[in-house]
């Protein structure tokens, strides 16, 4: 149809009139304040604009700082379990993935072994959490570019996943389910059936998501060619996750440093070429499907047996430190745990938050684009302020 020729024209931003004609202009400073419909959480961007173009952006974070790391050191009794609570609530969209990192760190410190069944269930629940998080990204990214419907589609699928978390862990969002050595308790009897139903439903849902905006010309023209970071710059900044993979480097912690039992599963790592917002979006869509693939394989091989290893009742790991790195839905999440051997709480727990590091790329992405593009570029980083601020 005749609308096609204009798409290419829509890709090239017009040069600034002021620059062309050496007009004197006044810069305007706009505050996209902590409360804003499109910043993903309480994030403040102070944009210096010239007309519609962004000249400079200053990010202000810290509005959601709740002292998660300090609270993790709270002593008295059961400090290692208490730290898990605050960890759940930092990246509230991928809480089970983060819990996995934390319990692996504790197990590394204390030398606890994990039974097979627990490992498989951790992988299954972790990948379901990844799907959960990417659905939320899909919804929020669609809303940033102006379409309100993807949000509702995403939440219809998330509802079922959260119902599963409620059945397994007791709470829809912060199940607090993993423990050092395995799981808090075994999964319910109908776990396999429920997970199978969810992933069958999810595959249909992913197709619906794609039909809605993935090939939409307007969406393409909004996101293609925007927010490009090249690979060297990305590596210099320490960016990880879909942002790094979009630039062409197939780095996924599950493949590069396989942890838990990820080396037993066959899955692909989607990688882009240019590093723009559209490719990040596509990578996350594809990661959801690869997660379904992993869950399928894990469900088939799910063994029976105990779900708790040889963890002592009162957990006091010996003096030492441990750093564990996993692939969060946002990138490379790390937990650094230091124990002093005496107290029942960690001496220091630090979370290496991928969003905090990825957010540094905002300046590169946004300067020189329009305000509308700034919003879309911020959305494509997929930040969760709880994780940025901890």
């Amino acid at each position: 149809m005749a609308i096609a020729p204009s798409i290419d024209m829509l890709l090239e931003p017009a040069p600034s009139v002021a620059e062309e004609r050496n007009l004197e202009t006044v810069e305007m400073t706009i505050n996209m304040g902590p409360q804003h419909p499109s910043t993903h959480g309480v994030f403040r961007m102070v944009l210096t604009l010239e007309g519609e173009r962004v000249k400079n952006v200053q990010s202000h974070i810290g509005y959601l700082h709740r002292g998660a790391e300090k609270l993790g050191e709270s002593g008295d009794l059961e400090g290692y379990r208490k730290a898990m609570i605050t960890l759940d609530r930092t990246d509230y969209l991928s809480s089970l993935l983060n819990e996995h990192a934390y319990v692996m760190a504790v197990e590394k410190l204390a030398g606890i072994s994990v039974p097979e069944r627990a490992e498989y269930i951790r992988v299954i629940l972790g990948e379901i959490t990844r799907i959960n998080s990417h659905c939320m990204f899909y919804g929020a990214f669609g809303a940033d570019s102006g379409a309100t419907t993807p949000f509702m589609y995403a939440f219809a699928l998330r509802e079922e996943i959260q119902q599963l978390f409620e059945a397994v862990g007791g709470a829809r969002m912060f199940p607090n389910y993993y423990r050092a050595g395995g799981l808090r308790e075994d999964v319910p009897h109908d776990f396999v059936r429920r997970v199978q139903t969810i992933i069958d439903r999810a595959l249909y849902a992913f197709d619906d998501f794609d039909n809605l905006i993935t090939t939409n010309e307007i969406f393409l023209s909004r996101t293609r060619g925007l927010g490009i970071i090249d690979q060297t710059r990305a590596l210099d900044l320490g960016v990880s996750g879909p942002l790094l993979r979009a630039t062409g480097l197939p780095y996924d912690v599950r493949r590069s440093e396989p942890y838990s039992i990820y080396d037993r599963f066959a899955f692909d790592v989607p990688v882009g070429t240019t590093g723009d917002c559209y490719e990040r979006y596509l990578i996350r869509q594809e990661e959801m499907r690869q997660s379904v693939r992993i869950i399928d394989q894990a469900l088939k091989d799910l063994p029976g047996g105990p779900t708790m290893g040889n963890a002592p009742k009162a957990l006091r790991p010996p003096k030492g430190e441990a750093y564990v790195r996993i692939e969060n839905s946002r990138g490379d999440f790390g937990v650094y745990l230091v124990s002093d051997g005496k107290s029942s709480a960690p001496y220091r727990v630090k979370y290496r938050s991928p969003c905090f590091v990825n957010l540094q790329s905002l300046n590169d992405m946004v300067i020189g684009t329009y305000i509308a593009d700034a919003v879309v570029a911020l959305g494509s980083i997929d930040i969760v302020l709880g994780e940025v601020d901890r």
Binding site: A2, A4, I30, A147, I218, E257, V269, Y370
Partner: protein
């Protein structure tokens, strides 16, 4: 029954049963029947807007797998009156930095032109009360383009007088948008005027009954007009000026209570207006189906024409509302590109082809169509060549191709 001698502002072809006192001109040439008709029209517009708002929310809900308003009244039908009541009882906040004269005036300048344009819409054929047009202007098309253009002034006034940077940005975007989309709209209408050989809206509807609906005769014109009016109303996907996720309301952000209600009302009234205009100009107005008059079924339209008009109008309204929830938003420069680089040339092509048809006959017209299709094919071919090859293809790596962190020089 056409209004050829419509230079006098009186109702045409007054039925015999109307008593004389109703149609005698009183103040400024308006008769009592005119005043009653105006009041009925105003009430209709206001009530239809409320129904429209309810419809939009219900359509939005079901498209998004949810339900929309449910609790206030059966199926949430009383939600709109409840919202109006809420707006009326809200505190009337005027920002300190707002201009005290311009700020209150702006909402009215946006709503009144929309309502004024309702006067020329031909709602139905000659039935009980005479022609269902409040004022059958001979220059109806000119009137319907000129009067809504005043909305632009109202929006700029709103944005500037708010004393807020977001409003200023919004109003700058809006005025550029409105001016850009006026041109394609007018060019599309020229095609319609040429086909009907009149600027009178009622004549255009009647000519469609003879020649066929303009949506088939002028498909490009319909597309251009429909999209241009969608943009004139700042409806998604052209709603960058009131982009909720960026500048939260644009020029309207400082208005609260019923002042904002007037803007909201104006937007929905404009949706109704433009759907009605599209129906009248392109979808054959009150005809039942294309060709029904030729088949001798004209009497159905004469009796129930108003219902058919309303039905088609509601279909268009639903399509406009539907598009809002499907499509992402165009950026401001993309919006301007769309107007100047696509809609305007398409409108011109339509205009030239229609002119060829009317002046030279069908054969040159067919040649014109052929040339246009050839040109479109060439453009499409060059576009395909310029397009980047992999739009949706991603490289998927095999497990062996992934580097370990040691390979990257990262700490273990």
């Amino acid at each position: 029954m056409t209004n050829n001698a419509a230079s006098e502002l009186t109702l045409q072809a007054v039925p015999s049963w109307m008593p004389a006192f109703l149609v005698a001109p009183m103040i400024g040439g308006l008769s009592l029947a005119d005043l009653i008709a105006l009041v009925v029209l105003l009430l209709f517009v206001l009530n239809f807007v409320m129904i429209e708002i309810w419809m939009e929310r219900k359509v939005a809900g079901h498209v998004q797998l949810r339900r929309g308003p449910l609790h206030v009244g059966p199926h949430g039908s009383l939600q709109s009156p409840a919202d109006v009541l809420k707006l009326l009882t809200k505190e009337d906040l005027t920002p300190v930095a707002a201009d005290p004269i311009v700020f209150p005036m702006a909402p009215y300048l946006v709503f009144v032109p929309v309502f004024l344009t309702f006067l020329v819409i031909p709602w139905g054929p000659l039935v009980l009360f005479g022609n269902f047009v409040i004022r059958p202007f001979d220059l109806g098309l000119v009137y319907m383009v000129a009067i809504p253009a005043m909305q632009g002034i109202g929006l700029v006034m709103a944005g500037w007088s708010s004393g807020n940077k977001y409003s200023l940005l919004g109003s700058a975007r809006v005025v550029a948008q409105l001016i850009s989309y006026e041109l394609p709209m007018v060019i599309a209408l020229l095609g319609v005027a040429m086909m009907a050989e009149s600027l009178n809206l009622t004549t255009i509807v009647e000519s469609q009954m003879k020649q066929g609906w303009n949506v088939f005769l002028q498909p490009i014109g319909f597309l251009v007009f429909f999209l241009a009016t969608m943009s004139e109303m700042s409806r998604a996907p052209f709603d960058i000026a009131v982009a909720e996720s960026e500048i939260v309301g644009g020029p309207f952000v400082e208005y609260s209570g019923m002042r904002w209600g007037m803007f909201y009302l104006a937007e929905f009234a404009a949706v109704c207006l433009n759907s009605a205009l599209s129906t009248a100009l392109f979808l054959g107005g009150w005809e039942l189906f294309p060709g029904s008059h030729a088949l001798g079924l004209g009497w159905i339209s004469d009796q129930f024409g108003l219902l058919f008009f309303m039905g088609k109008m509601i279909v268009l309204v639903v399509i406009i509302q539907w598009a809002r929830f499907v499509l992402p938003r165009l950026r401001i420069d993309q919006l301007m590109d769309f107007a100047w680089k696509f809609l305007l040339p398409a409108g011109f092509v339509n205009f030239i082809l229609t002119a060829i048809l009317q002046v030279f006959g069908f054969v040159p017209f067919a040649i014109g169509i052929g040339l246009t299709l050839a040109l479109a094919a060439v453009l499409l071919a060059t576009y395909q060549a310029r397009r980047s090859p992999s739009t949706v293809a991603l490289i998927r790596t095999s497990p062996e191709a992934v580097p370990t962190s040691q390979g990257l020089g990262l700490p273990v």
